[in-house]
């Protein structure tokens, strides 16, 4: 499948390195709003979770969903509606939104897994567009082109109107989502997903109901994407059609590709870079987000398909000395057509 197959999570790292990475990651997450404008920090956290959610599918199961905006967006709307109508703490609203996203995902997944590869991408993209049209038409609920406005940040009576404090209120939810994704990847279930990615026929021959696994991970992924979308909606105080539009689906894919799919850390890195870049372009008054995103797509796909994290891992692994192993400049092409040497490590 599409992923650089050799990337096996953080395998090959020593335990100390992994713990250190988590500690550093946590420290960065905790310190983020001190040195970055807090609403941007919140965006980074939400998009990072969204990107990791997609990584479960794209990186670990080898399924390119090009319609994940449907789940991020439907949760943004649902979260907003729950928060507005019930006034419950935003944790409840976000969880409710994520459940709605998972429910939306279930029929889409059941239909989409009937095709594989490139068709899967096209089908998910088309279904996401269906969700977009529904959101556009159902004005009484979604507000149509005006979007859903005035979503409150209720949290047990605490005043979270300052984005700095809201970040810390929402961060546990994001971290919980990331931890959940990590658990999925490192569970027996996650191993089966990788087996499906590597060789669906063999996984089936071994008795795994491949399609059922695909539907399950799709719904899980949509749930996490929903979690992220809900947090995003609460953070911004509104949900708009942009959240369900295909460019949003594309954006989360580019985060994965740029960061390095199938690595969990990579998508987090990719999300951070893209959000910061967009923020930079916006403040600098450069109105070219689409062109820049497109250029990143083109360059990453042409030049380093492993993404930043994947390339770094690759270089690191080769450094640690194996005589004739493939060098960092080797094209993924060769890697993909023959069983990868690194995978046996």
């Amino acid at each position: 499948m599409i992923t650089a197959k050799l990337i096996e999570g953080s395998r090959g790292w020593s335990r100390a390195a992994r713990v250190a990475a988590v500690v550093v990651g946590l420290l960065v997450a905790l310190g983020l709003p001190w040195y970055i404008y807090p609403p941007v920090a919140m965006d980074i956290a939400a998009w990072a979770l969204f990107a990791v959610a997609l990584d479960l599918l794209l990186g670990y199961t080898g399924l390119l969903s090009f319609g994940h905006a449907a789940f991020w967006g439907s949760s943004a709307y649902a979260t907003g509606l729950i928060a507005i109508e019930t006034g419950l703490p935003f944790y409840v609203a976000v969880l409710g939104g994520a459940v709605v996203a998972a429910l939306v995902a279930l029929p889409i997944a059941a239909l989409a897994v009937r095709r594989t590869g490139i068709y899967f991408a096209m089908v998910t993209l088309a279904f996401a567009q269906l969700i977009y049209f529904i959101a556009n038409q159902w004005r009484s609920v979604t507000g149509g082109e005006n979007g859903l406005q005035g979503i409150p940040r209720n949290f047990f009576g605490l005043d979270l109107s300052d984005s700095f404090y809201f970040y810390y209120a929402a961060l546990p939810l994001v971290l919980l989502g990331l931890w959940f994704a990590w658990r999925v990847v490192h569970s027996p279930f996650g191993r089966v997903l990788v087996a499906i990615r590597e060789n669906p026929a063999r996984a089936r021959a071994l008795g795994y109901p491949v399609d059922r696994y695909k539907v399950q991970v799709f719904v899980l992924s949509a749930f996490l994407a929903g979690l992220a979308g809900g947090i995003y909606a609460i953070g911004h105080g509104f949900a708009s059609l942009q959240e369900v539009y295909w460019t949003t689906s594309g954006k989360v894919v580019v985060m994965n590709i740029l960061g390095g799919m199938g690595t969990l850390w990579g998508p987090v890195l990719g999300a951070t870079i893209i959000v910061l870049l967009e923020d930079y372009l916006a403040t600098a008054g450069i109105d070219a987000v689409g062109a820049v995103t497109g250029a990143i797509f083109v360059l990453t796909v042409l030049l380093f398909r492993r993404g930043i994290w994947g390339t770094a891992q690759h270089v690191w692994r080769n450094r640690r000395g194996r005589r004739g192993g493939p060098g960092p400049d080797d094209d993924v092409l060769e890697q993909e057509e023959s069983p990868t040497p690194a995978r046996q490590a």
């Binding site: 239909l111 088309a126 250029a295």
Partner: protein, 291 residues
């Protein structure tokens, strides 16, 4: 009843665009195994090409109909040689992502230059009136588009099914390695076929200029509908893509007559049904080499 009939006609006209675009997409996919996301962007460029020719050079629409597809076909061939070609042989998803990126760039560059408002384009004088079709009168231009696209589709089908070139392309499409073994230089045909597919998209764009809103996003939303169309028709199948194009056009238009709110969604609902009942598409065979 007249109203319904008129809707059927509207459907056939919008189906003409779907058919031309799906056809190009299908031919390219067959030859290279590449799903070209930038197809919609080239359609948009086709419309803008006509606009620029008229606006800056005073060249008529008729000339644009001839010049723009050829020009963009050349651009498409360069695109294939310089970028797409590098990723053929890898997982087709890489080219999907590459062409997606290119589509974003093209769309955004046009937006930067021309803004988001639609560019005005007047109908060519010869086709500006309306014709009496017996039951109702209909704009001449739309009738022309319909006939033109049917003729173009039939021509492409004839070329593919009756000529030697078509035979080579079909053979390369279906069994690339075997064709190679039989002495056909498959690679020689890849670039021209890609250019041809792009030319068809540009042609649809020029046709769209006088009757659709000419703006940078006109291709982006359309391409997703086209994806649904080719999933419905069966991506590898030339006939299936064209038939599904007209079918989807009519379905949306008739849907618009009965339930306007749903009309845009109907194509996706049809796609869901097809996936449920005939996953390979209405006219598709089981997924083969490129699956």
């Amino acid at each position: 009843m007249d109203g319904l009939l008129q809707q059927v006609f509207n459907g056939l006209v919008s189906g003409s665009f779907y058919a031309l675009l799906a056809l190009g997409l299908s031919v390219i996919f067959g030859m290279l195994g590449v799903v070209n996301f930038a197809h919609g962007a080239f359609y948009m460029l086709g419309a803008f090409g006509a606009f620029v020719l008229l606006d800056s050079f005073g060249l008529s629409w008729w000339l644009a109909l001839l010049v723009v597809p050829v020009l963009l076909a050349v651009v498409g061939m360069v695109f294939e040689r310089t970028l797409v070609h590098r990723l053929v042989g890898l997982d087709p998803l890489y080219n999907f992502l590459l062409t997606f990126g290119v589509a974003l760039i093209l769309q955004d560059v046009v937006r930067m230059r021309y803004g988001v408002t639609s560019q005005p384009y007047t109908r060519p004088e010869l086709l500006s009136g309306s014709v009496n079709l017996g039951l109702f009168t209909y704009p001449t231009y739309q009738v022309f588009v319909l006939i033109f696209s049917i003729v173009a589709s039939v021509l492409v089908w004839l070329v593919l099914s009756r000529t030697r070139i078509g035979m080579i392309v079909r053979a390369s499409t279906e069994r690339a390695e075997l064709s190679q073994a039989l002495g056909i230089d498959v690679r020689r045909w890849v670039t021209p076929v890609f250019g041809f597919g792009i030319g068809l998209a540009a042609l649809a764009g020029v046709l769209a200029a006088p009757m659709r809103a000419v703006n940078s996003t006109m291709g982006g939303d359309l391409i997703i509908v086209i994806f649904a169309v080719v999933v419905i028709g069966g991506l590898g199948s030339v006939f299936g893509s064209v038939a599904a194009g007209y079918l989807v056009g009519m379905l949306s238009a008739v849907g618009n007559f009965y339930t306007p709110a749903l009309s845009q969604s109907l194509v996706f609902i049809l796609m869901a049904l097809v996936l449920l009942l005939r996953p390979a598409g209405l006219f598709g065979r089981e997924e083969g080499v490129h699956a």
